[in-house]
Point group: C2
Chain length 348, copies 2
DNA sequence: ATCGTTCACTTTAACGATCAACTTCGAGGT
DNA sequence: ACCTCGAAGTTGATCGTTAAAGTGAACGAT
């Protein structure tokens, strides 16, 4: 009937058929109280008849500057985002709120250095606001967005602007205190980050060279473990393999650590595998601690620092969609959940 | 420096500052070979200087009709999509491919009957293509999109157009044959679908009243179990609770079934819980079968019909982004994975 | 009778970019 | 000297919508 490929029924079509102005058609959709109910009804039924399905998004966005889309920025391939339970839980909360505000979520990838194509994709995104999940909200691409008038909400590592985070130093302290109490003195911290494929990189133990949140957790940890030997290593971005690789690297030496602190549960899962592969029982031969408290953590008995992940997503969505929400910088509560993966340091 | 809230540096700004035409600026971004490299360099550096960050998405989309966005349509609240491992795995594949085509994924919710607001959101979405995950691609909203020129790819229950699916009848047969061989004759099928909150609905055993894919699986099942008593029930959309509720309903009667077939692993997980709550050991006292083979299925030992979920997402993305891909209707291979959740029917 | 208002629309002018069709200029072939 | 051709730009129209300002009629208040 109507169109075949790309039908071009526009407001103009309707306006001509009904003998009214285009603005009136527009109002029928966007400002129903500006025209008589009868006319509006007539317009809507004519629309159905000719197969007009509402204002064109591009035209609307161009003129009004609103897109009803909230971006979600992830610092890696999107496929990885879905492989990470933390991110999935966050997205659940985010999309719930965004949906409630009558908007949709656009998944975007943060461009790495020199990734032209990705950079363009991010800059060209038609969005009203963006929530940055793993990369810092001080990322250069993000700055450009902010300059363009896009509201930016950081959900990790934000230094300025709007954010929803946890107190990472405190999180580190919780773990430090717990491990100190169990007598651990040889500790390895595994952080997410860049490492050449298949290699493990050692980093300064003061947390420099790590992302901000990592540095703060390490700081908190060291505060409560002043006389412990703490090493920081990194096995890459992809959490589970990175955790496994890094753990393998530090477990296959003479003075192996008595505890491994992985900066996310997803990393810790990889550590877990590495431990089991070596016949080490978590909690007895090797203590393992994670962060986040993803569902699997409870399942396998991983000691971790819980944060309300889905709530974080919900709040981030709120800040993104509602410019009038009063509290623009939110710190969420955290809590140490002790399970079977930690125990007294084995004597050697 | 440049703008404060919504800076308005456009191509025109650049054109005037450099004394060239707007089209040339446009070409510098979209068609680099249409101008001299030197001029292009000059334009890009001036852009950086004044804080111009690439063509505005809305303007571009309006004029060219391209958005570089692929929609993902889910038939329920998006938060639920993230709670369902099947959907998450599918999204991982989808976004991987879409990303490779230089586009992004927009998460959309399929409007239910009479959901005005949602309907508008879907119709107004600025997308080039859309992949329909749980709702049928014959959904009314989807038809409207197709009329607008949006490429539609069905990833379940598609009857026409482009799709990527499995052979659901065959899937049903695989399960039917397996259960027949184990001597099961009293079987309950749990389907996803609408049920009043907290209630369990009985449906015709021929699969009518179910979604298409469910009807076909039931058909295949019955084919291999001609003399069995098969009952079909539904406990709602939210998989795990629905499975638990429906299973509870059919397990608390005198002649309880010896096998429960849940049409997704997520549903089966709920059945599992219901069984354990009643002291029934899956595989001994009650056989449980799922579909999909999500990661947790392997973990707990659920017998299921495996389908390559992530590949399905990848292919759906391919069809959505590449109109020239020759094969437009793809049936993926499936395979019965027998684990410990099924066993011989207990004699009674 | 006059004024101010409200109602229900219309008119005009963008929003930012891209496309199709031209121009200009110099190089190369015959 | 004449014609063709490609490279490198330009011009003008247009995509579909909405904001802002304007029109004319009806109505109540003064």
């Amino acid at each position: 009937m109507a169109g075949e490929g790309g039908s071009s029924v526009t407001m103009k079509t309707l306006a001509e058929r009904l003998g009214v102005s285009v603005t009136t058609i527009s109002n029928a959709y966007s400002k129903p109280d500006r025209l008589s109910p009868e006319l509006r009804e007539q317009i809507l039924s004519e629309a159905k008849l000719v197969g007009y399905c509402g204002p064109n998004a591009a035209g609307r966005a161009l003129r009004s500057g609103k897109t009803d889309v909230c971006g979600f920025l992830f610092g890696g391939e999107l496929a990885e985002a879905f492989a990470d339970p933390y991110t999935v839980a966050f997205l659940a909360g985010l999309s719930e709120t965004v949906e409630r505000f009558g908007a949709s979520v656009l998944l975007l990838r943060a461009p790495g250095d020199g990734e032209q194509a990705e950079e363009q994709l991010l800059q060209r995104a038609a969005i009203d606001a963006i929530v940055t999940c793993s990369p810092s909200s001080d990322h250069p691409g993000t700055r450009a967005l902010a300059a363009r008038g896009v509201r930016v909400v950081g959900a990790q590592d934000a230094e300025s602007g709007d954010w929803v985070t946890i107190n990472d130093t405190k999180a580190g302290r919780l773990v430090g205190k717990h491990l100190a109490g169990l007598g651990h003195r040889r500790i390895v911290v595994i952080v997410p980050g860049f490492a050449p494929e298949g290699e493990v990189v050692s980093l300064p133990a003061d947390g420099s060279g790590c992302s901000r949140f990592a540095a703060e957790r390490i700081r908190g940890l060291r505060e409560k473990l002043p006389d412990a030997s703490i090493t920081v290593v990194c096995g890459g971005w992809k959490p589970k393999p990175a955790g496994r690789l890094a753990a393998a690297h530090v477990l296959d030496v003479q003075d192996r650590p008595t505890a491994i602190v992985a900066l996310s549960d997803a990393l810790a899962l990889g550590v877990w595998d590495a431990a089991r592969e070596r016949g080490l029982t978590p909690g007895r031969d090797l203590s393992i601690v994670g962060f986040d408290d993803i569902p699997d953590a409870g399942f396998i008995g991983l000691t971790t620092v819980r944060q309300p992940i889905t709530d974080k997503g919900r709040l981030a969505g709120r800040l993104a969609m509602d410019p009038d929400y009063p509290q623009r910088q939110i710190t969420l509560p955290i809590e140490l959940v002790v399970r079977s993966s930690t125990g007294p340091a084995p004597k050697n």
